[in-house]
Amino acid sequence: MQSRRGIAGLLILVLISCTAALAPWLAPYDPLEQHILERRSPPSIQHPLGLDELGRDNLSRVIYGARLSLWVGVTAVLLALVIGVPLGTIAGYRGGWIDSLVTSVMDVMLAFPTVLLAIAVVIVLGRGLTNGMYALAFAQIPTYARLTRVGVLAVKEREYVLATRVVGAGPIHLLWRHILPGCLMPLQTQAMIGIGTAILEMAGLSFLGLGAQPPTPEWGAMLGQGRGAIFAAPHIVLFPGLAIMLTVLGFNLLGDGLRDVFDPR
């Protein structure tokens, strides 16, 4: 069964990923190279997306920014999965006070807006792209923990799991071979959407000055630095914003597509 949205999302992401992978060959200039006398220049043949506040080529910075954004999004979600899935598995499988404790902590974390949680973590760890990525991973842990817990609760009472337990399978074998595989589909879908969310929120943190620091060519940081020149040179903020929107749209479409395929309801 196919999903047009999923295919559209996949095509967008293939384009973005290839751009990121081939950045050194695609970018016409060094993203840090300054042409200070031509700062804020509008789009032209030499500089198709114009120059920014410090005379750096916007196109090159947008291309290199794809690498950073994809790295942040994928790594943040992977970290959140590595911590959240085991937490949710233990809570759902063991039940009792462990379940109550994990669920309570996750509910408290979910009560806070993600941006606020990420800000709180960033001021502990310090500003920077990597610390911002850790902050976003931390903020996404409750989502995957709860999703896994719900999946484990649903699957662990199925007949085939009970039968496997009856024949003497241990908990590790049960979880790894029988229960967790049944929980994978919603996690995959959420992970795609989560990568898009992480990219969006990293851009927000960088915009506030708490994520990527100058002169890193991260899309949100480019928006933050170009803010002051928006009236004179709107192209400085237009193209990084479009890049963010296109990338996040690709992940959202792919996530929707996976949901259409694996959960047609």
Partner: protein, 334 residues
């Protein structure tokens, strides 16, 4: 968690030229020399007594600084929420009623783009287009310089007859309400200030409402489609009810409870978005406040903001749960 930050906040605040004795005195005065559990217990006890500490940066009580700024954020968030409800729910319902039509496709596409768009980018573009290019709307602050807004004074006349403590608390409450500029200008019949404050609210609230609007339109469409597929609508039609009543009194009524719950859950998203929106539009709320204080490592201020936002989220979800009970009689009887 804030206490894990490397570096001594006392040293940071007093500067590198402060003596060891001055730093030690500051730490003793601020309670920073106590063990962490003692600091936490002291903080919780203070919270319950209304003492939320003093800002390390300004030495002003955090409650006073927050009281000045909370109305701005609440006003912005409520306006954005109103836009989400007034525009989002009808749009989602129409998209469901006309499934597969051009309206449905536009709604689906628009919502997908809406949830993918960085709202701070949208805010910058709105400001550039509507503020700078067209000059229709202001792009910063809550009131234009020169527009006067008097504090609400209707109770001040009464305060002469009241005991001093009650007067002080009443005046503090009135000052708090006075910072809701739209409400204040209505109560004081100040039409100029009302129009000006509404104009200033337009761009920030439109920006802030974008993502929740997209979520609510999708959710409303999905819930309404679920409700339209139910058998009881066939029964209603068989009883001879007009189609309008079938759709509005039965389908929509049953689609509303989960939509209301999601609206409540979107409060967190709105408050998180307010942090970015207030920064873009220089809106003097707690969002802008927390960004400034984070960079200054002002622990009490950041703790105060986190607490206020958590309380607002809890209260809004409680209100949504109460609405849910009203909308779904089955919950009442459980």
């Amino acid at each position: 968690m804030l206490r894990l930050i490397p570096g001594d906040p006392a040293q940071i605040m007093l500067g590198e030229h402060a003596t060891v004795e001055q730093v030690a005195q500051f730490r003793a005065d601020s309670g920073l020399d106590q063990p962490l559990p003692a600091q936490y217990l002291g903080y919780v006890g203070g919270l319950l007594r209304g003492n939320w500490g003093r800002s390390i940066k300004t030495n002003v009580p955090v409650t006073a600084e927050l009281a000045e700024r909370i109305p701005a954020t609440v006003e912005l968030t409520l306006t954005a929420m109103a836009i989400v409800c007034v525009v989002g729910i009808p749009a989602g319902v129409l998209a469901a009623f006309r499934r597969g039509s051009a309206l449905d496709l536009v709604a689906s596409g628009g919502t997908l783009i809406g949830v993918s768009m960085p709202l701070f980018w949208l805010g910058l573009l709105f400001g550039h287009f509507f503020g700078y290019r067209l000059g229709w709307l202001p792009t910063s602050g809550r009131l234009t310089i020169g527009v006067e807004l008097e504090p609400i004074s209707i109770v001040h006349a009464l305060s002469q007859a009241l005991p001093k403590l009650l007067t002080a608390r009443l005046n503090a409450g009135i000052d708090f309400i006075s910072n809701f500029y739209v409400l204040n200008s209505i109560l004081t019949a100040n039409h100029t200030a009302l129009a000006d404050s509404l104009r200033h609210l337009c761009l920030p609230s439109l920006t802030l409402s974008t993502v929740p609007l997209a979520v609510i339109v999708r959710m409303t469409r999905s819930c309404t489609l679920d409700a339209l597929g139910q058998d009881y609508l066939q029964t209603a039609r068989a009883k001879g009810l007009p189609e309008r009543d079938v759709l509005l009194r039965h389908a929509l009524r049953n689609a509303l409870p989960p939509i209301v719950t999601v609206i409540g859950l979107q409060t967190g998203s709105l408050l998180g978005g307010a942090i970015l929106t207030e920064t873009i539009f220089s809106w003097p709320g707690i969002g802008q406040y927390v960004v400034n204080r984070v960079l200054a490592r002002d622990y009490p201020a950041v703790q105060g903001v986190v607490l206020v936002i958590a309380l607002l989220v809890v209260l809004t979800n409680l209100a949504a749960d109460i609405c849910y009970v009203y909308l779904d009689p089955r919950i009442r009887y459980e």
